[in-house]
């Protein structure tokens, strides 16, 4: 793997490609080997380490990011294939002080434990809510079925996404169960 951490690149060597990827709204010009996986560009090249790697066969979804708004597994796309596209990672969800409703939902409904699947899970949830603002429980489970979680047993994740959907639509989010 090879990439430059600066954008001041003057010469393109034979075995690398210069690409421009817009990440979380900022265009980034990087020099990469063609074989470099997008997830490694994000994590190591751009130091956006919220996107995680949980498998080597595209099953777990811990590396899920948005590619022009669609959820993709960034372990299964080459960085060069993202040339000219817009990538959104967990770091681009919400702002440092204001959380996206999905982030807030995960916190409020205890939709995370170790936190390792969380960024990918939230990106898949974000993509769902962008195309379906009022999903059913079944919709949520299907939308997240490409994302494995080992800690939560999924139920609170489903609640988190439904909470976020309510909040986003301006509905009163369901209060926590009275325990």
């Amino acid at each position: 793997m090879s990439f430059s951490k600066t954008v001041e690149i003057t010469e393109t060597s034979a075995d690398t490609r210069r690409i421009t990827v817009t990440v979380n709204g900022t265009p980034r010009v990087v020099e990469v080997e063609p074989r470099l996986l997008l997830v490694h560009l994000l994590r190591e090249g751009l130091a956006l380490r919220g996107t995680h790697i949980g498998c080597d066969t595209t099953n777990c979804g811990a590396c899920t990011v948005l590619h022009d708004g669609n959820p993709i597994k960034s372990c299964t796309m080459l960085a060069v294939q993202a040339d000219g596209h817009e990538i959104t990672t967990v770091e681009g969800l919400g702002t440092p002080s204001e959380l996206d409703p999905v982030q807030e939902g995960f916190h409020r409904e205890h939709g995370l434990q170790c936190g390792f699947c969380t960024p990918g899970m939230m990106m898949a949830a974000r993509a769902l809510l962008d195309r379906e603002p009022d999903p059913s429980e079944e919709d949520v489970r299907w939308a997240l079925s490409g994302n494995l979680c080992r800690c939560t047993g999924y139920q609170n994740i489903v609640k988190a996404v439904l909470w976020a959907a309510d909040k986003q639509r301006g509905a009163q989010p369901a209060e926590e169960d009275a325990r």
Partner: protein, 802 residues
Amino acid sequence: MTLVDPRRDPAAAAPVPNGFGPMLRKEDGRFVRGRGRFVDDIDLPGMLHGAVLRSPYAHARIVSIDTGGALAHPKVRAVITGADLERRGMAWLPTLSHDVAAVLATDKVRYQGQEIAFVVAEDRYSARDALALIDVEYEPLAPVVDARRALDPDAPLVRDEVPGRADNHVFDWEAGDAAATDAAFAAAEHVSTCDLLYPRVHPAPLETCGIVAALDPVTDRLVVHCTTQAPHAHRTLYATLTGIPEHRIRIVAPDIGGGFGNKVALYPGYLCAVYAATITGAPVKWTEDRSENLMSTSFARDYHMHGEIAATKDGRITGLRVRVLADHGAFNGTSQPSKFPAGFFHIFTGSYAIQAAHCRVTGVYTNKAPGGVAYACSFRITEASYLVERMVDVLAFDLGLDPAQVRRKNLLRPEQFPYRCATGWVYDSGDYPRALEQALEMAEYAELRAEQAQRRAEYERTGEGALLGIGLSTFTEAVGAGPKKQMDIGGLGMADAAELSVHPDGTAELRLSCMSQGQGHETTFAQIIAHELGISPYAVNVVQGDTDRTPFGLGTYGSRSTPVSGAAAATAARRVRERAKLVAAAMLEISPADLEWEAGRWQVRGDPAAGASLAEIARAAHGSLELPDDLEGQLSGRCVYNPPNLTFPFGAYVCVVEVDPGTGQVRVRRFVAVDDCGVRINPTVVEGQIHGGLADGIGMALMEVLAFDTDGNHLGASFMDYLLPTALECPSWELGQTVTPSPHHPLGAKGIGESATVGAPAAVVNAVLDAIGVRHADMPLTPAQVWSAMRGRPLRTDLAVR
């Protein structure tokens, strides 16, 4: 919304309790922002990357290893083989089970995926490239794959490096009274027997194992960031292995992306990275991929069990006898208390009043990766619980009785506690009938049975429709290892420590020897201190994982954090409170005997207006106040907690499944779980723990298995084949609770983390077999297994096992 103290956030759903109760997690703020710090997120200046070359064979002699090609790669800085380690006495590492395991193979390979060489290169991709440039010549040997053939006279020898070793036998271990049990069986009205395999599975934490090892040239210290559930125990092991004294080793467990017992052991990759750091002088990172994690790190279970249950004709159990063949792989590397080679399997009498019980466990070597104790097993209680919960159902099946009725007849009654079971455990407390009745009521058991009969009749009439199955599990756990006198790991007693310091402003720092991997310790341990000191949990900073900053202890596994570290934290807080009382007495110029504690302050009995808050006391304790000669300044307390006993949480589960008889497909329709872990520090966190464990139960019962072929090829080495439940396989869990406190625990709290993983698989299996009317079939109950079992020919889980 910002994730600060939600009491300042008018939109917050729930107020923060000053103590126990549902509270949103302090950890979440960084994780939902992608700001956690996991091992692979660490990037040090000049850091190199390691990669492991692994064996393609299960069993083969190594004729030669040629590393020349790899060394010629322009980005490769070092290639390490077993011969290099051997010169430093590091080719073999002692395991926690009185065995040794190869770090890098020197003589032969003993399982597919075993470590052979370690490449260190300037980047991750080059390190992997260079693996292909190492040339290894093998002489293949016949492997031992079927544990049941491991002790055959002609079985190939797995451990021929041990002088004088002539077989694959690891240990024999027994518990209970064999003669009394034999007598009970001889006198029994009825005996049911059944062979059960708890197949080899894997904890598969979403984050794999990894390390960044660095030597600080200025301080001459080894600094290790690693996925470890037991940082202090690892420090001791590194010292033993490398010869570096413990004060020159710092282990830091940063955020860990799930452990589930997978991250207790010390793996060859870690040691190779440490060694590589010493020879290159640069930090070395090693992160394994999923395939490596599944193939080579601690597996779980792999118990071949022969159960016998003796009973009266009306279903009262009079005896339980078990013979176990335990497949330990090529090296005995179980991470468990050293006097218990079969862990706590001898709690296999479960929740029942069984007068006579005996078990004998035989461990064998096979050509598979080491492990055995992992995946929320509480040291083999998963196997014990599955055994007894399945045998009770087999008994009910054979006698034509309702499994709920058989359980009612045999469950221990609350007045029998503390209860000494037939194999010697003293259960602390329990009210099993109450939990069972609550679960049956929540599930509407009678209605379910009626629906089941109706559906079965319908199916028999029309040949169409799904079959309904109802499965029960009334299990007992034993967690919180444990009393130092009986329990040690690698010679280290299983006590854990806590240190609490109150700062001058009344906020506090709690330093712990346990290490969360998602269980919420930063929140719940702050709640323990809040409960004891009457301050906000947001005023308590919880420190764990860094051996430079935390007191010694054995870490987090076996659901031991709450029983041991939780007790230590509460005790440390009480010591702080007592010290604060003396300081307050000096402040108020009054006798300590005249003070009473009231939620965060010491006040004068009969004059509550006169007193001092913890913050005022802390300020004074750090200030110029004249203190009595025998009273230390500042405000801190510590405790090394040596538990008097384990805690024994329990539960009653009801699983409801629908089985498609045409395809064998199982759908889990409902899962009712009533758990009792005594006092609940944070019910929200407890419920999340249970949810995760219930999903494990569905995974193990229906999907997960590490199978091998007859050549010892690993057939479950990726998530393509090692199937984990997704959101679609899991139902919405229905939880209930009862509260039966542990009488010996300072907070009345018991462990809970592994309960659902222990209790759930039997409930799912019992439900599926109940649906199809089959006496027994082994996990995982995949569609093929269910379809075959319905035709009277259950599949062997592992084709390599005869």
